[in-house]
Structure formats: C-alpha cells, structure tokens
C-alpha cells in the first residue's frame, strides 16, 4: 500500500505535467517539462514558509493535512474495490476542504476562491446521476461488483455512454486550466490557494497528484473494467491528453455559465437515467 500511495502521488503529478505540456504545445508554446509538477512539489518544500497574520493557524495548517488524508483514503477505497458512495462523499469533503483553504487565510482572493468552490459543487450533480445509471445496470455501487459485472457483460462505456460522458465532464471540471476551473480563475490570483505557499502548497500538490490519479483510475475501472496495470496507465494518459485538448481549445466560462452548463448536463442525464430505468 505504501508503494501504491507513493506511485499514485508521483504518477498523478506526472499526468498533471503532461496536461500542462499538451496544452502548451496546442497553443504553440514550448511549455514546461512533463515532470514540472513533481519539481513544483519539491521546490515548494524548500521555500520559506509562514502562516499569514490574518489566518486561523489551526485551520490554515489542518486543512492541508485533511486534503492529503482524504485523497489517501480515496485511493484505498478504489484499490480495495470499495463503494462509489464513499468515494463521492470524499469528493464532497474535498469541496469543504477547498472552502476551508480559502476561508482560513483571511485573504479576499482566498475567500472568493472558497466561495467559488461551493458554487462549483454543481459539477457534482452529473456525477450522482451517472452513479444512478451505473446502479440501474449493476445493482451495486461497490467498485469490485462493477468490475465483475463488466467482466461478464462488457464495458459500461458501451452500455451507458452518456453516463461516461457525464463522468468525463466531472473529470474536466476538476482539471486545471479547463472551462469549469472557476476556483483557480486568474482574476482571483490563485483562488483558494493564494496564501498557501511554501510547504503548504507542496502539501496541496501532493493532494492534487493523488486526486488526479484517483479520478482517472475510477473512471477506467467503472467504465472499462479491470485491465493489466500498464494498460490502465496508458488509458489514464490517453484520457488526460483528451482532457488537455478540451482545456486548450475552450475558454474558461464565467461562474454562472459553468453552473448553467453543468445543471443542463445533469438534467439531460436525469432524463437518460429515467429512460434507462423504465426500459430495464
């Protein structure tokens, strides 16, 4: 488990580096090397660190620990074939963590970032609907059961493609530089993490690496099924490249447009699941 945890952290950061590189190449920039996010994590560890005068010190530091802890737990839920509901509870906790990051510093930019993270909770709605679609077919929300179902009946990607699209939109909303990345919008400096620098930012980078790995791994296990590890890693790489294309070619939406688009997707998904439920 320790080896998997360290591998997930570094591979997740490498995927985020690939994400930045692909976006840069599409925009005809050289871009940073693909291991830039790993270097970022190490670089921030060596920087001068303090807690701002206006911050709530306990929350300011504690939220970093919680951020890493919840995504460590999420990784173990996925690896042990646990319930999707626990995983999505962790998604919700992550929203509270982002909010905590923003509010703890006393910075107006952090606070706005924290508020936007609450607004962006709309991105979770398609997620719940895609879970409902999965439950209609598999009659279980355990990842191990979903994998077993796909071993017998083929990938859910072909059975319920719209649910996979909804989950893909959720992945997109979690990616930096994407159309739904309103929590890290440039008019808010760095959003909820503006004042978390130095070591605290290094902790946040570890959290981001784990989060990226867990989200992509979940997508593959839930919609494609179990595969050899090298195929899973290639699958994750292909998904991140496709996400990078979408991020590079689409503008960042305003917060209200983001919520509107995601609510529309959720509405379409509700209708789709209702039809699936009636037909099955």
């Amino acid at each position: 488990m320790i080896a998997e945890l360290l591998f997930a952290t570094f591979f997740g950061l490498l995927l985020l580096g690939v994400h930045r590189k692909v976006i840069a190449r599409i925009q005809r920039r050289p871009g940073p090397p693909v291991w830039q996010e790993i270097l970022h994590m190490l670089k921030f560890s060596f920087k001068t660190t303090w807690v701002p005068k206006t911050a709530s010190a306990t929350l300011f530091v504690g939220v970093v620990l919680v951020a890493i802890g919840i995504w460590t737990a999420a990784l173990f839920v996925v690896l042990s074939g646990g319930s999707l509901l626990i995983l999505f509870a962790i998604y919700m906790l992550h929203k509270i963590v982002e909010h905590g990051f923003g509010l703890s510093s006393g910075s107006p930019y952090g606070k706005f970032g924290g508020v936007r993270s609450v607004i962006s909770a709309a991105s979770e709605i398609p997620l719940f609907v895609s879970v409902a679609a999965i439950a209609v077919f598999t009659h279980s929300l355990l990842i191990s059961d979903i994998i077993a179902y796909q071993a017998l009946n083929g990938p859910l990607l072909f059975t319920i493609p719209l649910a996979a699209v909804a989950m893909y939109v959720v992945l997109l909303s979690k990616m930096p530089f994407g159309p739904f990345s309103i929590v890290e919008s440039k008019e808010l400096v760095s959003g909820y993490k503006t004042e978390h620098f130095g070591l605290w930012r290094a902790g946040l980078e570890v959290c981001n690496g784990l989060k990226t790995y867990v989200l992509l791994l979940t997508f593959i296990l839930v919609f494609v099924g179990s595969m050899p590890i090298w195929m899973i890693l290639i699958g994750m790489l292909l998904i991140i490249i496709s996400l990078s294309f979408v991020c590079a070619l689409s503008p960042m939406l305003s917060p209200y447009d983001t919520v509107t688009v995601q609510t529309l997707i959720a509405g379409i998904m509700v209708a789709y699941v209702a039809v699936l439920g009636v037909m099955s």
Binding site: S45, A55, I68, F76, T194, E195
Partner: protein, 67 residues
C-alpha cells in the same frame, strides 16, 4: 516549529506506516487498520518532512490584497 521536532514528526509518521505494513504482512493488522494508519501517517509525514526541509520560517505578513 523547531527542525528537530519536524524531523521527529516525519520519522514517527514514517515509522508508524512501516510498522503497520510489517504487521499487515504477518497478518496481525487487518487491511482496513493498515489503511487507516496510512491515511493519518502519510499527511503527517509529508508536512513533517517539508517542515524539516524548508528554508526558514519567515515572519508572518498580511495577505496579498491586490495592486
């Protein structure tokens, strides 16, 4: 935090994780308990190691308010 305390925190966290791994391998500690130890120990290890590594502790400042 003093450097030696930070190093102690990182070492205790790493030691807990490794001890949990060994106990799990000899079937004394169940999987869920091993994972629970790592969920707590890993963040403490990251921050402990970072606090030990970091350049220095600067004096607290007010947050960035814009230009």
């Amino acid at each position: 935090m003093k450097k030696q305390y930070a190093l102690a925190l990182a070492l205790v966290a790493a030691g807990s994780g490794i001890a949990a791994m060994v106990l799990n391998m000899v079937h004394i500690l169940p999987d869920w308990a091993y994972m629970g130890v790592l969920v707590i120990a890993f963040p403490l290890f990251v921050l402990g190691l970072g606090l030990y590594w970091m350049a220095r502790e600067g004096e607290a400042d007010i947050p960035f308010m814009g230009y």
